[in-house]
Amino acid sequence: MKGDRTLIILGVVLLAVVGAGPLLPQWALFLLTIAIAKGLVAQGLMLQLRAGLVSFGQALYYCIGAYTAGILGRFFGISDMLLEMLCGAAVAAFIAFILGFLLARYRGIFYGLLSLALSMILYGLLVKSEALGSTDGINILPSTVFGIKPSQESVRHVVLVAGCAVAFLATLLVNRYLNTPLGQLAAAIKDNEIRVEYMGTSVREAIHVKYVIAAALSGIGGALAATTVGHIDPDMAYWTTSGEFIFITILAGTKSVVAPFLGAMIFGIIHTVAFDVSPNTWQMTLGIALLLVILFLPEGLWSLFTRRKAA
């Protein structure tokens, strides 16, 4: 039943986005697409957070996804955004599979700081890499879908619809995974790893799988953000970017696969409005917003819906 509801919510959101897209201004389409991209990364963080793991370096895979898209365009002339997202996910997942053997051994602050260290290593490498534009970064080729280049007026809507479709598919797969025995181990791992091992399964393997899935989602998000913005730079791997994703995840809550997208949209709105109203103190506004959520909605914005249901 729960899975069915998620499917319905996702379907309604997708239809709303596709239908309302042409009516929305360009800036709103841009914000929505970026929210989808960041929501995918937050969804990956959510998977880890459910198992009690906080990655302070999820921007690593966001950046890998973005640079995969950038490299495809710069060196291979590929501009198909679906292919960019697919390759972004694959490269991120492959690197996470390798690094996961190391990460899955650690818990708590060590897991967090090790993930942060890895993202900062990538940042350092990119800053020193002239072929990839160093600190200036590189431009992304204008987006195409199945070889068709959308018109200047419709490109934002096309990118949003394509991004939503991929996020929809990814979310369905994540939802399905969360309903498998392996997916349902997250809370058990968070509560009692010893018992999980004595139940007959490997905690390390379960965490490794979550880490790879989270990386793939972040890779898709990075590629989508890259093609939306049209430019990438090493800041995408910087620790403040990872902090932004943690912010979104806490804001959203971890109870639903849909929540990260809601969190990312609210984050985008707060960020945009705060910056517009007070360009020099927008961080303070974000901080206050997070503080209020932690104080009054410790389980995130999604608990607004679950609370009402419980009542």
């Binding site: 025995p181 181990l185 809370a187 009692n192 004595y198 139940m199 399964t201």
Partner: protein
Amino acid sequence: MAVVLDARELNKRFGAVTAATGVSAAIEQDSVVGLIGTNGAGKTTFINMITGYIKPDTGSIHFRGRDITALSPREVTRIGICRSFQIPQLYSSLTVMENMMVGLGVVLRNAGLGGFFSRGRPNVPGHDAPAEEVAERILTRFGLSDYRNKNAQVLPGGVRKLLDIALTMVAKPTILLLDEPTSGVSAEEKFGMMDMVMAAVKAEGATVLFVEHDMEVVSRFAQRVLAFYDGRIIADAPPEIALRDPEVKRYVVGGELHRMDEQQGASNA
């Protein structure tokens, strides 16, 4: 009866502390074995070596003829040796039912069922019913049905113990190791609890080894007693013999048996 578990000359030291010295025991199928001894005598080390949590320095452990000494705890669980804990190890943020479902999910996954591409509600291997039904059945056997939707962290001590043991049953164990099943349970409740546990365990057809400090529980439920002292087994016999062994009386039972004798004498009179 066939030997299902065979520990051969197990030795284990932790620095200057000897936890096991030449520990050997052949456990027969369907038997109920009580492990007794004072704190630090080597009972839990013996359990931990069987379950793969601690590796013996020398010696070997065989399960149905297979050397399992090098296996990890999860591998030992998978072959059918499960354990409960002195301090219940539960998933405290989950309900009783969710605790059971996590365990059953692991059993399904280990059997290659219930994965990403599977459809429907597969039967849990060994139980021949879907997970929800198996969970209900086990909870009923352990008298936990009324707690089904309660969060594990708010359960009373005795119920936590029962759930800890019930969780071991999801894997349909061949051998069940119970570490002090009645510790923390009131004197009035412990026999009732053990009756329930033994009935449930026997219904599943498991061989039982249980660590116990209460000699009344041991004499009532064990068919055989292994008495530990200073890392050695100093007696291996049925309870009526082992509990009257002079060494066991001196090092393990102490004044407790005298009290039991006195109670018996008083009731006879």
